[in-house]
Structures are given as C-alpha cells and as structure tokens.
C-alpha cells in the first residue's frame, strides 16, 4: 500500500480510531493491530512476498535469541543469518545482473555462455527490511541491544507500516525500546504528526508529481536537448527525487508520531550541504549512517591509514550505489560519490591547510559547487542506458547553448529549492511552523488547497523500486 492514496487514508481512519481506543488499556492488542495492518499493508501489493517478510522476521528473531543463548556459536550464527538475508536480497535483486555481467565478461574473453536469466519480481521494500533485520542481528551480536523476547515486538520493528517499504531505515536500539513503553500521545504529537504528513504529501503530490512529466520529457529526449536543458534535466530530477523521497519520509515520520513512535529524520536540507561528507550527513541519513556503522567502520573506517581510508570510502559508496539497484548506472552513481568524498578528503587534509582560504567564502562557494556536482550524479541515477548516461554527461559540458523558454521554469524551481535548503542551514522552518499557531494555520491551509487543486498525476514513490 502506498501513502499518496485516497484508499490508504480511508483505511487509516478506522485503524487510528481502534488504535487510540485500545492503546492505553490494551497496549499489546494495539501492537497486534499495528502488525496486522502493517502485514496487510505489505500484502496488498503481492501476498506471496509477505511470506518472505515474515520469514526474514522469524529468522532474525530466532538467530538473535540463539546469539544470546549460545555465545560460543555467535560468529557462525551471525554468518548464517547474514548469508540468508543477503542471499535472498542478492537473489531477488542482483541474480540477473550478476549472471548477465558474468556472461558479458566471458564474451569479452572469447567464451560464449548463454546465461540462465530468470523472470524475477523484486519484492517491494526488500532492501529496506533486509537492512532492518541485519542491523538487529548485528547489534545483538555486538551486544549493543538485547535479544528481544517478544516476537510481536521484533515483527513490528521490521514491518512497522509507515517505514516498511521505503524507510527511513530503523535501528533496533532506537525503536525496540519505544515498543516496551506506552508513552502518552498528546494532542501536540498528533498535530505535529499531521503537519508532517500534510507537508510530505505536498512535496510528493504537488511538487514531485507535477514536475515528473517535465523530467521524463527531458530525459526521454536527451539526444535533442542542449547543454542548458541537460543541466536543467539533472537539477530538476534532483528536485523531483528529493521531493518524492523526502515526502515519503516525512509522511512516515508523521504517521509514526501520530501513532506514538519516533522515527528519525531522513533528510536535512541536503542541497544546502557544504561539501560531500556534509551532503551525506543530510541526504538519506538512515542509509548513510547504516552504511557508516555496518560497512565503513567494520572495514576499518579511517583508522588504518590514508590509502585504506580512501579505499573504504570508495567501497562503501560503490556498494551504496549498488544497494539502489542492479545496474551499472547505480554503480557509476556510487563511484562518483565515492570519488567526490575521496577528493574532498584529499583537499581538506592536504591542500586546504596549505592554501588557507577564508571560511565564509569557502562555505558559500562549497555549497554551490556541491549542489552542482551532486546534480551531475543524478544523470547516471536517472538514465535508462549507459549510452544515455554518457551522452548526457558529455552534453553537460559540450552541448549546444540552445535556449528554451521552458527552461526558465525549470531553473526557477531548482533555484527556489536551493535557496530554501541554504536558508534551512540557519532556520528550522518545520519547527517554526510547529511552534507558532498562525504559521501552522497558514501552512496547513496552503498545503490542503494545493493538494486539492494542484495534485499531479498519481505515481509510485521513486524509492519503491529499490
């Protein structure tokens, strides 16, 4: 089930009514209700894959219990759990990609092999819930969280419907303790949650869905557009994917808040980032911190010398790219971000101390440079073929300077979003709206009216495909 849906909100109303009526008197029943709804939410897409989700949950519940019961087998149990979780993810998401890539490599070496490609339907949200499960098992293994005795709590942690199919990726240490207590839900929590839901819907339905057609047009006609339009395509897609994904995340956080659970933020004005490491502290925060804690640091992080640090950065970002999908284009996207981070680190540690530039200038220039260079990476992310990716990247620097009046609107939208993100470095607009009744009133009024009159054509959230 998706959030930008009338049907979803129709089902949500009775859920909330029952949930609030039983939550304080019968908290366990309220959790069962949430779990049943979450599984139904997932099952409406494809009931068969619900078994996969439940299977992953059962596996990690028992592995976590076994990790504490038989400490001498800890390592083997963890490996078993990771092998199954990543094995399933690998099969559903990467089987065809790796088989086809192997066949291409063999063909290049002169060996002809017809790969046994399979028609595999990707279970929605598998990348997200696999990461939930893995983080839980690894945290229990590391002794950071205790193995949960209640299967209900583990199942709800994995399947909690606001974040099930596209995050934010939750950590057991953050979410499980919330399931143990029945915190009172105040009207303010509901009001703040509603604000976030409305704001998220506004970002997705009014902005992302309305610019989707223009982005599709520019990318579909990439051969016919010039330098300015290619930059416009990349920047506008950056706006679309941010609005789409942040919209989803805000709805998830808002729904969590209404239900009495805290879900951490996933975006923090990323296009106002000063530098690439700053960008990754602001973009898809739950994924970047997951990759940091469960991949970059275990690889050695920055503790094993410069060369190893650069290698770890590159590996982390390559795998981060591959996490998004089985395509060489996502690998290119990850490689570009890995290269950016390595270059930034090199500049910060080697060149900047020698040159000694003024911090204010550095910061302002860095924000612009970061925005533009990050925009370049949206080309491989959005392209359908490698040819298109390379062609568009070349056009961004060598294309003709043809002008199209429609570009004014594209650049105006991008500039507005960029300005908002830059201002968000200093001002927290959401917190401001949550504190002041008049601002809240005006915001809700604008969101509701725009959602009613200017909803774009309904489309899936982009991150559902990952």
């Amino acid at each position: 089930m998706v959030f930008n849906s009338l049907f979803f909100f129709l089902t949500l109303i009775p859920l909330l009514a029952i949930y609030f009526s039983i939550r304080e008197k019968r908290p366990k029943a309220a959790k069962v209700l949430l779990l049943v709804y979450s599984w139904t939410f997932y099952g409406t897409w494809n009931p068969a894959f619900l078994t996969l989700l439940i299977g992953s949950t059962v596996l990690d519940y028992w592995v976590a219990r076994a990790l504490e019961a038989w400490p001498s087998y800890k390592r083997r149990l963890l490996i078993l759990s990771l092998a199954i979780e990543f094995g399933l993810l690998g099969f559903f998401k990467y089987y065809n990609f790796f088989i086809a890539t192997t066949a291409s490599a063999l063909r290049a070496a002169g060996l002809v092999w017809t790969p046994p490609l399979l028609q595999i339907l990707l279970p929605i949200g598998i990348s997200f819930y696999t990461f939930h499960c893995v983080s839980y098992t690894v945290d229990v293994y590391r002794g950071r969280v205790r193995a949960e005795r209640s299967f209900l709590d583990v199942a709800l942690f994995v399947a909690f419907f606001p974040q099930l199919v596209a995050g934010p990726i939750l950590r057991a240490g953050h979410f499980l303790p919330q399931l143990h207590e029945t915190r009172a839900i105040r009207w303010k929590d509901i009001a703040d949650g509603l604000m976030l839901v409305l704001f998220g819907l506004f970002l997705k339905v009014v902005i992302a869905d309305n610019i989707a057609a223009r982005v599709d047009f520019l990318f579909d006609n990439w051969r016919a557009i010039g330098l300015l339009a290619t930059w416009g395509a990349a920047i506008l897609f950056g706006v679309q994917i941010y609005m789409d994904f942040n919209g989803y995340s805000l709805i998830a956080i808002g729904l969590g808040q209404i239900l009495g659970y805290h879900i951490p933020i996933n975006f923090n004005a990323p296009y106002g980032a000063a530098g690439f490491s700053d960008f990754w502290r602001r973009w898809h925060i739950s994924l970047s911190t997951w990759l940091r804690d469960y991949l970059y640091i275990p690889l050695g992080g920055n503790r094993r010398g410069d060369a190893r640090t650069y290698a770890n950065l590159a590996i982390t970002m390559l795998l981060g790219g591959l996490w998004h999908g089985a395509s060489v284009l996502f690998v290119i996207w990850g490689a570009m971000h890995g290269a950016y981070l390595c270059i930034e680190r090199f500049v910060q540690e080697t060149i900047a101390p020698r040159v000694g530039v003024r911090p204010v200038f550095t910061s302002a220039a860095l924000i612009v440079v970061t925005y533009l260079t990050v925009s370049i990476t949206w080309v491989p992310f959005r392209s359908r073929t490698t040819e298109q990716c390379v062609g568009m990247l070349l056009r961004m620097f060598r294309g003709s300077l043809t002008y199209d009046a429609a570009l004014e609107r594209d650049y105006a939208i991008a500039l507005a979003v960029f300005a908002c993100h830059c201002l968000s470095r200093r001002y927290d607009f959401i917190a401001y709206a949550q504190r002041h009744g008049a601002i809240r009133f005006a915001s809700v009024l604008v969101f509701v009216l725009l959602l009613y009159f200017y909803a774009g054509e309904r489309s899936e959230f982009i991150y559902f495909q990952f």
Binding site: N46, F441, L449, Y452
Partner: protein, 328 residues
C-alpha cells in the same frame, strides 16, 4: 491542533467557494466515459493466469456494449470443453490497433488466446487514445484509488483541476457569459461488465445524443471520402496487427455490434475498402455483422452508436452462441 482544525475548515470553505464559482462559470466535470487505463490494464493483468481467454476489444462500442458476465454464463451453459472467459477490453476513444497490441504484448510468449475485435470506423481509423505502457507493479490499491478518483471526479469538479478551474472562471469574468460546452459528466459501471457514460451541456440544454454522434461520424466520413489516405494507413496498421495475432496462433474474429439505422446508413457511405467486410477479407478473419441480423433487429441504441444496457445484455448470449464454434 486548533490551528489545523481551523485551517481545514477554512480550506473546505474555500474549496466549496471555488467549486461554486466554477459551476456558475459554466465548468463541467471531466469523467472518463468507460474503463480507465488502470481498470483496463488491471482487467488484462487479471486474465494472465487463465488458460483460455477471449478478449473483446474495441472502442466505446465494445466497452459500453459487451456484457461479459452474461456472455460467460451463457458460454458455460453451452458446455464448452474449455473454461473460456470473455473479457470486455473495450476502451473509449481508443485506437483498436493499440488495444490489440497491448493485449498481444501482455500475453507475449504465452499460449495464444482469442481476440474478438469489434469494428468501429473511428476506433479503427481515427481514435488515438491507447491503453498506454503497462504500469509497473499495478496492484489492487491502484485500482481502488482509481475507482475513488472516478467517483470523486463526478462530484468534486475542481479536484486536481486547479488550472482548468481558474481558466474557466477567468473566461467567464471576461465574457460575462457561459461558453457552451458538452462533456462527459457521469459514468455508470454495470454489474454485467460494461461501463458507459453520460454527456451533458453546461447550458442546461439536454444533449441530443444521436445528433451528436451522427454529426461526429458525418464529419469523419466526409474527411475519409475526400482524403482516404490517412484512414487507409490506419487500416493497414489494423490489418497487419490482426495478421500478427493470427501468425502468433491467436483465434481472431471480427464482429460488428448493432448500431442505429441512421448510423448504419451513414457508415455505408465509407469508401468500400474501409468497410468491415473489406477489412475482414484483408485481414483474413471471419466477420460476424450484427447490424444486419434478424435476431438483433429490435435492439435499441443510446445514441445510434452505442447499445442500451438491455440491448448489451441481450446481445451477449447471441455472441456466446455464435462465437462458440470459433473458440473451441
């Protein structure tokens, strides 16, 4: 919370005000007079697991006029060796060639099925609406949302139509009068498996449905008579698509649902090579023409072009019996 509640109330009042203004300015709802793309794609998707399916494709004449449930009941009663299920895959204002292509593509690589193609000159030679590219991951929630959207479109005329509403209101303010417009304002989903629409004007004058249809077809046929090159290209596309289906092993039957007498006379004036018998011959498929069939002589139409619901229900058993020999 008070601020939010107040904002929602003010928004509702504002929406109501705009809605009222839009209606006063001569605005009309915009409703799909038949299956929507999502419903069409969902229907086809639901048949993919079935072994024997007869897809009844066409434009709104098929969409409004084929009672699939009545057909299936009658077909089952005939005692078929195969459990054939017919599906109304008629899409209003669509290119029939595009509809056939969608159906063939969706079952590509699978067992060949049956196609019952309802001939309509505008569906074959003029309409360009198409089922569109398959929507990835189409699920029941999308269909339910689509139903809700259709229901709301009939009641909340300005929902998701902010630009249309403001333009209509601005036009009214400039002209101080309502510009006459005719539009589809309601659709009716029949339990027997067909969907039809209702035309209305914004001036309050009742729509003369037969005159509207006849005028549209007259203009189309006059254009085809003066320059038949474009319809002929479309006919070639249509026949080659049918031949492609035959080549893939599909059973294809061309049918022509009953139409009103004035419409029939009008269609007789089409260039000979664009008429249904010539198309059937060029495609190499049989033609079942119900416009000149004694069993359907009493059938009435809504507008000379589309069957009434009762006629649609009455046609289905006749079709089932006639198609029985082809679909075995």
């Amino acid at each position: 919370m008070r601020a939010i509640a107040l904002a929602v109330i003010v928004s509702a009042v504002a929406i109501g005000g705009v809605e009222r203004l839009y209606r006063a300015a001569g605005g009309l709802p915009s409703v799909v007079p038949g299956l929507t793309r999502i419903e069409f794609q969902w229907k086809i998707q639901q048949t993919l697991g079935r072994a024997h399916v007869a897809y009844v494709v066409g434009d709104s004449r098929a969409g409004w006029g084929f009672a699939e449930r009545v057909f299936n009941r009658e077909y089952a009663r005939l005692g078929s060796a195969h459990d054939v299920r017919a599906v109304n895959a008629g899409l209003a204002a669509s290119s029939i060639t595009a509809d056939i292509k969608y159906v063939l593509d969706s079952r590509a690589g699978g067992r060949p099925q049956a196609l019952v193609v309802n001939y309509s000159p505008v569906g074959c030679y003029q309409f360009v609406y198409a089922p569109g590219p398959p929507i990835p991951g189409l699920k029941i929630q999308d269909v339910l949302d689509d139903h809700l959207d259709s229901l709301l479109a009939e009641r909340l005329w300005t929902r998701a139509r902010g630009r249309a509403a403001s333009e209509q209101i601005a036009l009214y303010r400039r002209q101080h009068a309502v510009s006459p417009v005719t539009n589809w304002v309601r659709r009716t989903v029949d339990a027997d498996g067909f969907v039809n629409g209702t035309l209305a004007t914004n001036t309050g004058v009742p729509v003369d449905n037969p005159a509207t249809q006849l005028l549209y077809f007259t203009q189309f046929i006059a254009a085809a008579q003066s320059d038949p090159s474009a319809p002929r290209r479309r006919r070639d596309d249509f026949t080659s698509m049918i031949r492609e289906a035959l080549g893939a092993g599909w059973t294809v039957v061309l049918v022509r649902f009953p139409i009103g007498p004035r419409m029939r006379d009008l269609e007789e004036t089409l260039p000979a090579d664009l008429r249904p018998d010539a198309v059937a011959l060029a495609s190499g498929v049989p033609l079942l023409d119900y416009t000149a069939d004694a069993r359907t002589a009493w059938f009435s139409t809504l507008d000379e072009s589309h069957l009434t619901p009762d006629a649609a229900r009455a046609l289905a058993p006749i079709l089932a019996r006639d198609l029985y020999r082809f679909l075995q």
